[in-house]
């Protein structure tokens, strides 16, 4: 069998098939820059001249009313949507606008969707296995064997997200909150430098929310985390810096107290409520 695996690993000579994964350059501080980004759909400007900088290791919360452009912003960072104008840099070396989704993902940007998206036909264990940071080209994936080390890593994450007992159940049977956790677990498996988390606590109970807050704050420092959330209580519990988006641009930025006292922000939120 060893000869067989030798042969099947020959594909690794095709180095030109992989993007040159040079390390992220964060010597200048910020890990993510968005400059003057604008994108419109059929004349509607979802993002309008947006400028945003995330520092390495920062935990940033982004809030804003519906239609403020939060999800579109994440689409742009992860390569799903291309802006009309503007530039997006990961560290000071990687121009994200020239890369596609898998490249951006392997660079170390992980994303959790607004609606929890897990692979429902696969087990919890398999979901985490697929998310694991490893060689994700076709032939290595075909011949991949699970090493003890990898298995240990999966077990560790399973414990963190509290789904150890359900490891061999199909993800489709999980509750909404459990799917949210599984998706966060998949993010952890990816070992990303930057996590984009879209509404992580939607549909969670109080305790689940607390544990999520704990988890996210514990990640900050090692990894940069961007959280988009509607739940103000949750944001207050984790936030150091808060950015308020409105109509596709930054309306205010600062600590939670500063922001919530900002007259412009109050107007936007009250105006919406009225």
């Amino acid at each position: 069998m060893s000869i067989m695996s030798e042969l099947t690993h020959r594909d690794r000579v095709f180095d030109f098939l992989t993007p040159t994964a040079s390390p992220v350059d964060v010597r200048h501080g910020p890990i993510l820059y968005l400059e003057d980004v604008t994108v419109s759909f059929d004349g509607f400007r979802a993002i309008n001249n947006l400028n945003l900088t995330i520092d390495d290791g920062e935990l940033r919360c982004i809030i804003g009313p519906n239609g403020a452009g939060k999800t579109t912003m994440m689409d742009i960072i992860t390569g799903k949507t291309r802006p009309d104008v503007g530039s997006v840099w990961f560290g000071s070396r990687h121009n994200l606008l020239t890369m596609n989704e898998p490249d951006i993902a392997s660079l170390g940007i992980g994303r959790k969707f607004q609606k929890p998206t897990v692979f429902e036909a696969l087990t919890v264990f398999e979901n985490l296995e697929l998310a694991m940071a490893t060689d994700k080209r076709v032939l290595p994936t075909l011949t991949a064997r699970l090493t003890g080390e990898a298995k240990a890593r999966i077990d560790e994450v399973l414990t963190t997200i509290g789904l150890t007992d359900l490891r061999h159940r199909e993800a489709g049977i999980l509750s909404h909150g459990q799917k949210q956790w599984l998706e966060i677990g998949m993010l952890l498996m990816q070992k990303p430098r930057l996590l984009l988390v879209d509404e992580p606590v939607a549909g969670m109970t109080e305790q689940e929310m607390e544990r999520t807050a704990e988890l996210l704050t514990s990640l900050a420092g090692k990894q940069s985390v961007v959280v988009v959330e509607h739940d103000m209580g949750f944001v207050r519990s984790i936030a150091r810096t808060v950015t308020v988006l409105h109509q596709g641009s930054v309306l205010a930025e600062g600590s939670m107290d500063d922001v919530s006292n900002d007259p412009k922000v109050i107007e936007v939120y009250l105006g919406e409520g009225a």
Partner: protein, 381 residues
């Protein structure tokens, strides 16, 4: 099934694969023995006509497995797999044509009869090499593989999926059908390739050659099944399912969805090509009707009847539908299209999981085995 085993040996540890291979082996053995041992008048005697008919079913079964691989596990409903089947068949047909040599009606040592008939004076360039069996057999894999590679590369790169992909695969096979109907293409036009004499030196009309082809088809089906099983039980198989169910998510995990799709699609096309190549010497003809959109969509209904994403279901479906077709067209030919049409409707509306969905025992077994991933001991072995 275990996560730490080598991808090629993994299928053999599965209960379902063991059962499948066992049943297939037994069936092929029993048919061969009954054909060889029983006297011709006996009730148990299997005529060489029946052997060839069963061989044809096995070809269809392999084709259905190929379609199930892309439809069941990758979510790509190809309505053009008949094209790959036919290309494999034509590659084999070209070899068989060259084997005729000067025994054709016109007695030309190199040119097949239809070329002489069309007043061609030399062999078109793409016919060269097909007098050699090894070259033809490589082309059986390469011709459908290349078409799948080019077509898939373009389609998957542009993220053409779902219904759109189905429709353009149908257009692809339709265009090829029109093309192969033309005499100028040099594939015998309307009549296709036929009047074969022998294969690898064996006379095709002898019982021995027919039995040999039947057994070869059985082996090809077994190998094809194991290859597909190896793919779907590998991590790549799980990534395929991930692409099927949540393409965008898979991409954000860092997988090149289009390459996964391309790889599996090409493998599937090659398997379809092999099925076509084994089909042609058994039925004795290949013509453009194999490219017809109706045939391609029929394959899909075999898979749907048997049960998607099980592989063995595809085999069951192919054999049942084709047996029914043989029976129906024999007794009341007009009713066959009614039956086939009704089958399409009934299966999709009432039996979405197919026959395999009615066999929970077998399906459960395989799941139970995956319940206990083996420990790190085996991983280092």
């Amino acid at each position: 099934m275990s996560y730490s085993q080598s991808w090629l040996t993994r299928p053999f540890t599965e209960r379902s694969t063991q059962i499948f291979l066992g049943v297939l082996f037994l069936a092929v053995m029993v048919v061969s023995v009954l054909h060889l041992v029983m006297p011709e008048g006996s009730a148990l005697y299997v005529s060489s006509y029946t052997v060839t008919l069963l061989g044809k079913y096995l070809c269809y079964a392999l084709l259905a497995v190929a379609v199930d691989l892309v439809w069941g596990y990758l979510g790509i409903l190809s309505l053009g797999h008949g094209a790959f089947f036919a290309l494999g068949g034509y590659a084999m047909g070209m070899y068989l044509m060259r084997q005729i040599g000067d025994r054709g009606v016109y007695g030309d040592p190199t040119l097949p009869d239809f070329m002489v008939f069309l007043n061609w004076d030399s062999l078109p360039w793409y016919w060269h090499g097909f007098d050699m069996a090894w070259f033809a057999f490589i082309m059986v894999l390469l011709a459908p593989g290349l078409l799948a590679l080019v077509f898939g590369f373009l389609a998957f790169r542009s993220r053409v999926t779902g219904v759109y992909l189905s429709i353009i695969t149908q257009a692809l096979t339709f265009a090829l059908m029109l093309a192969f109907f033309r005499n100028e293409m040099g594939f015998g036009g309307n009549n296709g390739l036929t009047d074969f004499k022998d294969i690898l030196g064996f006379d095709l009309r002898t019982d021995a050659a027919r039995l040999g082809l039947f057994i070869a088809t059985g082996i090809a089906l077994a190998v094809g099944y194991v290859i597909c099983r190896a793919i779907v039980t590998s991590k790549l198989g799980r990534v395929s399912v991930a692409c099927r169910d949540a393409e965008a998510r898979t991409r954000f995990l860092g997988y090149r969805v289009e390459r996964v799709q391309l790889f599996v699609f090409v493998v599937s096309a090659m398997l379809a090509g092999v099925a076509g190549a084994l089909y042609v010497p058994q039925v004795g003809i290949i013509n453009p009707s194999e490219f017809s959109p109706l045939f391609s969509i029929e394959i899909v209904v075999w898979v749907a009847l048997g049960g998607r994403a099980t592989l063995y279901g595809a085999v069951i479906g192919a054999i049942i539908v084709n047996y029914a077709k043989t029976v129906f067209t024999g007794i009341m030919p007009d009713a066959w299209l009614f039956a086939l049409g009704a089958l399409f409707v009934l299966v999709t509306v009432f039996l979405p999981k197919g026959i395999a969905g009615l066999l929970p025992g077998l399906k459960k077994k395989t799941d139970d085995e995956s319940e206990a991933p083996t420990s790190g001991k085996e991983a280092t072995a």
